[in-house]
Symmetry: C2
Amino acid sequence: MTVLTDRPAGPLSRNTAVEDEVLGRLRDLCDVGGLRGLAATIDDLVGFVRDDLAAVEEGLAALSTGDTLVGEAGASLVHLGGKRLRPLCVVLASRVGSPRASAVRDIAVAAELVHNATLLHDDVVDHADRRRGRPTARVELGNAASIFAGDYLLIEALHRVRRAAVPGVMEGLLETIAEMIRAESLQLENRGSLDASEDLYFEVARGKSAALFSWALGAGALSGGASPELCRALRAYGESIGVAFQLIDDLLDLVGHHSNTGKTLFSDLSEGKITYPLIVALDREPALADTIRAIAAEATPSWGADGLALGHSGPNGDGAANGHPGGANGACRERERVLEAMVRYNVEATCRDLAASYMDEGIEALAKVPDGAARRALTVVARASVLRER
Amino acid sequence: MTVLTDRPAGPLSRNTAVEDEVLGRLRDLCDVGGLRGLAATIDDLVGFVRDDLAAVEEGLAALSTGDTLVGEAGASLVHLGGKRLRPLCVVLASRVGSPRASAVRDIAVAAELVHNATLLHDDVVDHADRRRGRPTARVELGNAASIFAGDYLLIEALHRVRRAAVPGVMEGLLETIAEMIRAESLQLENRGSLDASEDLYFEVARGKSAALFSWALGAGALSGGASPELCRALRAYGESIGVAFQLIDDLLDLVGHHSNTGKTLFSDLSEGKITYPLIVALDREPALADTIRAIAAEATPSWGADGLALGHSGPNGDGAANGHPGGANGACRERERVLEAMVRYNVEATCRDLAASYMDEGIEALAKVPDGAARRALTVVARASVLRER
């Protein structure tokens, strides 16, 4: 196993709590079944990016609530943590070149803020109740606060990117967010439709997830002064691991452990989203359609035949009941039926295999990146994205 | 009456329909009681800004739906029209100097897009049913589409501002939107509270409305290469007429004509917002508190004692019923009682007087602007903002 020591770690002047957090997060990322061996490089990886990631945490911690409800809704989600995978991508891509530390920090913070902004709007749209193991902002502070908090984090992200002043990065972020919104729209239009095709699934996955990963890698590379060819290669890597990441996310929504994901299981289906694992299961066993339809209908009565949530919460009017851990109990039997079919047809393996092929594609894209610590670390990240269980 | 002919109008090469629309809109703005005389200058005013405003309309018409539901939700609100007062402010401020036409157009379009983005989010938050004489996007296409459409217009606005590439304008817009969100938060936190003070009202009005007007004027001035002193003067003008505009808006929400405003009357109170006219009425007749509380309670049962909308639509679950023209009929008697009190205490005159003093403040700020067509047109706009009846 190669160690990641191209650059010496900075002086140990940073806040230890922050370091422990970064360390813990990276361990989480690597400490999964198939990565036990790979995880041996963790200390080197941490040494390699410790200062940058600690600066990112400081940048995120500096996010002010402005003593407002909306500020609190935004900041509290960010401060709950998360995997910080997008900032890590920015930092690692920047290390392919010679980055300016403050620009990298601003761009990495922006990547995390945009991600969190989309979560705040998604949770309102999806009537989601849990996120990162806690009640969502919309449940605790209201839909209105969650909508404006998303706006706030988005603007804060753009402010940081503007401050970073790396040519091309702002433009790329605006295009990326436009792509993300387009994907949200596609998903919305096809809600509740079991005719959703594989093509549509991947179009949405690319727009919703891969686009931001791709931007994070490209922006990191630009901040390090990488060549256009290198930027392209890193963006391609980001696009591939983004799709792999989304595939695993959607799989874990069905077969994950509640305590790991911090989200309500089966939430995608409850929101009328037919994800790849379900598309595979349906393809193997078309009779599953009724069961899947029943779960979607029971959880969100407001998703009509046209797949659109109307301007109200539907007959029972209580969004908080949707997909609640204790709610929708009547759908338990149906959920078991779906899980049984997934086992019967090896759907988990099919999904992980496909994710692994995207991972391979991503690692292949790194061929153009000079061998070194950054490239090796990016390989670790790609593998961890696919093997992760949270 | 001075005519506005400092600059010759451009060649009449533009689309006539667009011109008619611009002309009609400016006539609307000027064709109000006290402005009949002022409206005589309309043809000159149109000649002065016709090409710029036609370019703005073209820029807005080019807004693509991207063949998505979200794109449709965003574009259809923009294409419904509106007063286009913010783009007009950008155009007029730019004419104080020597602007680059494409930059002015992009910034003017951005001002209108940001305004529309906030409307799309506000309408979800407020459960609003009508806007510009039509059902709101959230009613027609769903809350989700309205939320993402707001995001889309915001990103599109930032894209245009980036393209305009006028130093300081992007930075100012990000700060302005942050201010707008902060004001939304303040308003949200104080929803349903009858203790809302005058100070709070003006803090919210400055953040929600005046900030964007101020930015529009300042950005227009920057795009014309105006001096820092001139920019400051025009921003001050924008701030003042923005407050005046909001005061009249809030007045018309109570005493306006449904067919004029295109919105549901008493919608602010239905949304738990205690606006300036109500603060005045309450001050004159404290016993009105119960009546006001009754209207707010009847219209939006989900605004709890804490003034926050929770993550569901409340007991009746049907947001579409709130403030609907035919809905909340039980509150008719209470509404009449409020209107009677407003007549008894001359509340309309009090509000218009205060708005007029903000208008005067705004016109005073123009003292530093060299006399000419632009300054005279800005004076017309200030007067029309206060005297308007729609």
